[in-house]
Symmetry: D3
Subunit: 229 residues, 6 copies
Amino acid sequence: MEIIMKILIINPNSDPKMTEAIAKTAREFAQDEYEVLCLPTPGAPEFIETYEDSSQSAPGMIRLLKENEKIYDGFIVACHSDPNLDVMKEITVKPVVGIGEASMKIASMLGHKFSVISDTIHSIPNKEDLARKYHLDKVLASVRAPLEKNEPDSEKTIYTEVARKAIEKDAAEVIVLGCAGLTGMDKPLQAAVGIPVLDGIICALIIVSGLIRYGVSTSKLRKYNPHAD
Amino acid sequence: MEIIMKILIINPNSDPKMTEAIAKTAREFAQDEYEVLCLPTPGAPEFIETYEDSSQSAPGMIRLLKENEKIYDGFIVACHSDPNLDVMKEITVKPVVGIGEASMKIASMLGHKFSVISDTIHSIPNKEDLARKYHLDKVLASVRAPLEKNEPDSEKTIYTEVARKAIEKDAAEVIVLGCAGLTGMDKPLQAAVGIPVLDGIICALIIVSGLIRYGVSTSKLRKYNPHAD
Amino acid sequence: MEIIMKILIINPNSDPKMTEAIAKTAREFAQDEYEVLCLPTPGAPEFIETYEDSSQSAPGMIRLLKENEKIYDGFIVACHSDPNLDVMKEITVKPVVGIGEASMKIASMLGHKFSVISDTIHSIPNKEDLARKYHLDKVLASVRAPLEKNEPDSEKTIYTEVARKAIEKDAAEVIVLGCAGLTGMDKPLQAAVGIPVLDGIICALIIVSGLIRYGVSTSKLRKYNPHAD
Amino acid sequence: MEIIMKILIINPNSDPKMTEAIAKTAREFAQDEYEVLCLPTPGAPEFIETYEDSSQSAPGMIRLLKENEKIYDGFIVACHSDPNLDVMKEITVKPVVGIGEASMKIASMLGHKFSVISDTIHSIPNKEDLARKYHLDKVLASVRAPLEKNEPDSEKTIYTEVARKAIEKDAAEVIVLGCAGLTGMDKPLQAAVGIPVLDGIICALIIVSGLIRYGVSTSKLRKYNPHAD
Amino acid sequence: MEIIMKILIINPNSDPKMTEAIAKTAREFAQDEYEVLCLPTPGAPEFIETYEDSSQSAPGMIRLLKENEKIYDGFIVACHSDPNLDVMKEITVKPVVGIGEASMKIASMLGHKFSVISDTIHSIPNKEDLARKYHLDKVLASVRAPLEKNEPDSEKTIYTEVARKAIEKDAAEVIVLGCAGLTGMDKPLQAAVGIPVLDGIICALIIVSGLIRYGVSTSKLRKYNPHAD
Amino acid sequence: MEIIMKILIINPNSDPKMTEAIAKTAREFAQDEYEVLCLPTPGAPEFIETYEDSSQSAPGMIRLLKENEKIYDGFIVACHSDPNLDVMKEITVKPVVGIGEASMKIASMLGHKFSVISDTIHSIPNKEDLARKYHLDKVLASVRAPLEKNEPDSEKTIYTEVARKAIEKDAAEVIVLGCAGLTGMDKPLQAAVGIPVLDGIICALIIVSGLIRYGVSTSKLRKYNPHAD
């Protein structure tokens, strides 16, 4: 009897609606190949936007991972700014993947440069820092967000326009959805703009399920060694 | 009835023994999840080491891919220097992954810095160029190869020593096998040195099978557009 | 009547001994020019070494800053890995300086390259990441730590040897003390090795007292804006 | 009896009006904490704009520093392109700070990216080179100058417009005054645009007075060693 | 009796018209100082635009060089994307220069930043990759191409407009012709825009004739050693 | 009647012996193709090692160039640290080439990485800065100098040993002579170590004579425009 692998997606915020949207995307991609669950972070804010939001979600994320470490084979951090990802990698011997890192690394393999489509202008510096952290600043065409949030247009119309600008003005050849809350918009957007559009949740599932199957995880030599030597 | 995905691994050289070793690694990893075949490149040299070797393998690789494009869902280039990978990505709408890019991108997610363990001193500049091409030069701890090739020791002993030096002298936290011919040495080496050791063949399978399942492929906007506009 | 400026040094750990050592260094440097107080972080670990340590000190650091925001004119984060510095800068309109950033930025003005002398081998990747975050990786000669921690020699002897190696092998022209716990060792070490040795606590005092006097603080335009727009 | 520290500001040009403006800014900031004097450079051009201007100011600057070395505790080079700063650092054991380096290093601690507001289009390549010399090219949002110099508007109106463009088009979060001649415009501009505006003269005073008080100066190991070994 | 040096220009495509245009430019520059011949590549496409085009021209280029190695003193690859240049350098002990590398390296010595004027939008990613390969990405102001190819204007008018945009919008101080097919347009364009305009064919002749005269060629230590060790 | 081109080599120091050695190298390379003269700089130090040395040679270099501008077609600055090269490029419309930039740019075309062989340990930071100025820091294998200057061995023996270390320890594939005073040692060293060894004087002659013949010179758009706009 085959033992199926189990993946836990940690949604760093506490919004049940976003948690369910992430779970839906993940289940549809996983099909029967592996079990996947998404949990919101207890004690976290409803939305992660500021540095303080990230800090506030850390204790709950750490607890979630530690309590579930034995049950699951691998973990995903499902906020595109990869909050507290380093500590997640540190505290477990099992593989952990962030949706920001997974989506941007895969994007860099599919075209010359990629743009991140984010939900707020506020997040642009954060996304630029993240791309630089992953050594991808030179292939980041741009980070773009809708100028006004309360536009009457549908979300799809708004983000199609943002993606089009990234393609036309910044020469992006791949689009990365820069917020877990945009999950589900990859295929409609891809159909509209004609270039690959990546949802980080799926990118992270690809990597983490592969690492689990491969029996490879985070190096514990030094950077992610939880014990100071 | 489910249609299982099919992946073709293109071995850029013409060595049947290495082709079979690659195929064995791939089949064991794929199990029943997808079909995977490895073919040697007609007209290619027995081993790819020089720039001329890469050029000589190009016509056969192009032909292999074009002849098999409709049959397979995705392709892997299985030489760690990723020869002719850009042209492979250009001439098909289906996803293509190089074992060099896949292994180094995944390595960068597992630790502070990684070292590539290669088979010849000659290949060091090439590997350094490759890491830089993928914007990973700053996380490349080193490229190392055995100093003398005809040592009486077993391959495992030789490469364990090389990996140990990378860990001790260059602070590598992850090891990447820098030659398809080293396939199968990942787990023994990982057991010996205690940090993750990556075989690019498996890393590429992880990425390409994920892309196929996701329905995402190379952007055809400009860089990999086969038609000059 | 002149109103003297007041600076709060937040020690991210909870060790009273280290808190007092930091306070002593700060008071001696401040003399009568400004008031300076150092507080340990409630709920924080005794020593900050891992990513989890940093996360655990965040809630206490945030609370300390918020509770004291009105009383003090500026703040210092006194752990050389600058834990939670971005959130500190975000949640107050008053200037906040990390001892890591201040010491490395000043070091870069005093010589060709600098080395960070740290207390543990474990912290080397973290320090390298920090230097890169501040765009100083190209002028970082090295990060060095004593190989064995329980050496019978005095601390001064041990770190003099470490600094000498940084000078001789890595061509460091300036030494940065890479741990708040090394405070007080700057002048003895400088006397021993003959090149500038910087204590981040003093470097941060120089910057933050200057910013206060100048009436300049963190930009609230976007990156450190606590309100997502 | 306390001995008060004395700082000499070397204005690399020979313009008495600019010299007095610099002195005024410095005295107001120094208050009674330290003595500060600003001298024009004998034999220098009236304004430093070209490479030849910099070369022509070198002999006078060297003489000024050497003649005053014993009297003063530290020195500032008060032209934002930091002309001849390396030679100034080399020829004295006392600390020397350039207003270009001080302002840009401090700017990098206050926000995501900064823009330099310069007086001439001609100086843009020079400022870009300077930012790169200090490893700050990646956090330089832009260098901007008024397009036409003889506009009828007031200087404040002109530079407010330039700063606004830097904020809106280049996402600058901090503004650096790129010419000593703009001294005094920091606070009005900051009031107008709502983000930090830095005058290099004050930034350099912060650093150099701190270094003097700390008893730290330029490393004489190699780069700034006046004696070739 | 002096033996005059002989240079072979390999045109990587098979277009006789472009071959003759290149030859004309070369002969006029060489005058009587050295002999220079330009040959089209047998079996190559008529125009090199895609990765596949480059691969297809490799066998012919290798054959051309090998057959002529003894007769000529040095070689030029005369397509601005420097196709197969590494293999050309590898297979001969005589100097080989690409028109892309020569023109961009010389451009970097003549001004702050340079722009490459290319013939197709499609080639922009390729040119950006090439500039990065030669470590010139930071001095590449832009790559620009005419937006529409079938404009009724003359070629000179079209490219003058492209160059003007590079100067005005991207601050280019030097223009590089980004296609061998543009040969002959350097002087008219330079007259029109008033800054240096470089034809790679002439730049490569300068370098390769100099290397021949100097008796220096490609290092055969490792990267360009045709024998794997 | 053909008018032969005339090149002036400006030796930034005042040493007649080094001036003659440079002139000899240049004449032998130029043969009858062009006239070349080398002049020492009036008022300059005997040897350029420190920043002050460079400053002191500036007035004489400027005068030399201005007095000879009409007579010569191009100029070379013949000290490997390229002192005052930017001002030289600025003050004339004729081409000016530094031996540092010419040798390092050409070295980067001949192999994977190059090492600069310098005469003093003191000059290492300066050479590293220079390589970075020319965007060549990533292909600089190392800068090396003899550890002790008064060794009894011959100069050739000493520098052969230094070059060997650069090859063996730093993987240099090309050697650059890092001091005009080493002129004449290129061919003996190349014979001894078996990889290309470049004398900057000859490299600069190759470039400047080519630029003159091509009718191309420094861009006067902005960076090297002697008139501030």
